[in-house]
Amino acid sequence: MERLEVLKTYKIYIGGKFPRTESGRFYSPENQKGQKLGNICLSSRKDVRNSVVAARKAFGGWSERAAFNRGQILYRIAEMLEGRKAQFVEELIFQGATKAQAEKEVNISIDRLIYYAGWCDKYTQVLGSINPVASSHFNFSVHVPQGVVGVIAEQSSSLIGLVSVVAPIIAGGNTCVVIASEKLPLCAITFAEVLNSSDVPGGVVNILTGSPSEMIKPLTTHMDVNGMTYAGNDSEIITQLRESAALNLKRISHYDDNWMDAEAQNLYMISDFQEVKTTWHPIENIGGATSSY
């Protein structure tokens, strides 16, 4: 008797759990051959709201983790991704990539996570500074995470675009709400499963599938979102981001990189999601020879 294959239900990822969308809706994207990729959650604005609540709740704990521990966890994500490589390759091929492209995409994704894992306990030293001031103060600046960051992931890739933006955000101690690629959503949810089995606390990364046009507004206008980032070059979306950001002075960034380029990663992607905190610490008067700082 022929075995009937059990198909996977792709659900969204909020607060470390995999609920169905609150709206109960779904859509069925197809690949170029006209095959259905699956029934995918068509998330609503209420899923956005729930995700932001989850991200806010997770922020305190995640940002206060020891930097070294955050690095270990990012490394762990890479390890788990490596272990499930075959599944990602298969999904990428199903979504239209060639075998070579798919393998390259997964490999670069893993390496990118390792790259940012390494930065976790180093970026503050490199970015921070001790500032010369003309008064009796020891003045220094450190980078602290923004808070909850909204992410509109690259729409033309399934995995690498998402990983490339999410990794520096969480490496810097932020939490995020991600709108995945609408047409290529499979790897985003499988990546959520990787996150869920990698010691990443629930709520640090929340991933929603569905129509960006429906979710961008509630996410970008949300008063509890501190930053927004967009991977893409649609000028309408960029304008919308800028307008909505004015509501509560969200910091916004957008990227138009080719993420498949092994060099499309750098320290400044971490600092894009940081605020600079400068401290004026009173000290004794510094006179030339007796200076102690």
Partner: protein, 308 residues
Amino acid sequence: MSNKKGRSHLILPDFSQSPCVDKVGVEERVSRFQKRSIKNEAKMQGLKMALNMIDLTTLEGKDTPGKVRQMCYKAQHLHDIHPDLPTVAAVCVYPSMVGVAAKAVAGSGVKVASVSTAFPSGQAPLEVKLMDTKFAVAEGADEIDMVISRGKFLSGEYNFVFDEIAAIKEACGKARLKVILETGELVTLDNVRRASDIAMFAGADFIKTSTGKISPAATMQVTYTMLEAIRDFKLKTGIQIGMKPAGGISNSKLALHNLVMVKETLGEDWLTNEWFRFGASSLANDVLMQIMKAETGVYQSADYFSKD
């Protein structure tokens, strides 16, 4: 065994024979309340009503007069950006903070409730509990939230529990008495029903689910069981008793579900803060954020609201 506040004429039932509660039935019924769709104007009205029913609470070992004054200010100025918001119903504090709170809310219509009787455990002799209560009343408490002796209750000493409540009621004088059953420790819904009956016959003006120190606290199942007890008591004696779920009601949706439950179980008479309260510390901000969301169309952040 009788109390002097107008319930001495009641013939006391045998509390060991309090009605049994059908747990599955309660769960069924409760899940229905959660499926009502309350939107737009109805939602807004419900939210404002919920705000006006809140007992804004701080019951921590680290409470200071400053913290209590800050909370009392919040009780009267929930979100000043928004005109025509009601105040909360009351502030709820420890007896040592009643004086501070009474002064801070004087003239605003916000009442001062004080927990007493060795809250939250209730593990103290009756004399201490009476002194605790009298002190709070003398300091200016309008309402007393007492805890029952759960240990005695669970050992079947219902008369002890009854007498204690009656004695505290007497010590309250003009202050209204809320009796906390601490349902999280009562184990079964049958016990919740029995404790409710005891409290109401002994002189409670309100029955209240929990101290907020024990989880689970005010689940809808427990609240529903208590509402049914209140309804039966009203039908039997004609006396109206108030209800206060406390602990765990931290969001607007849950508050609205509770209001629906009250309306459909007891009727409109209970939909005022005279007869229904929420004991909560973080509910107010969530309700305020919902109200602002409805008016601005934008999801809100706690950063822009005063601290709980």
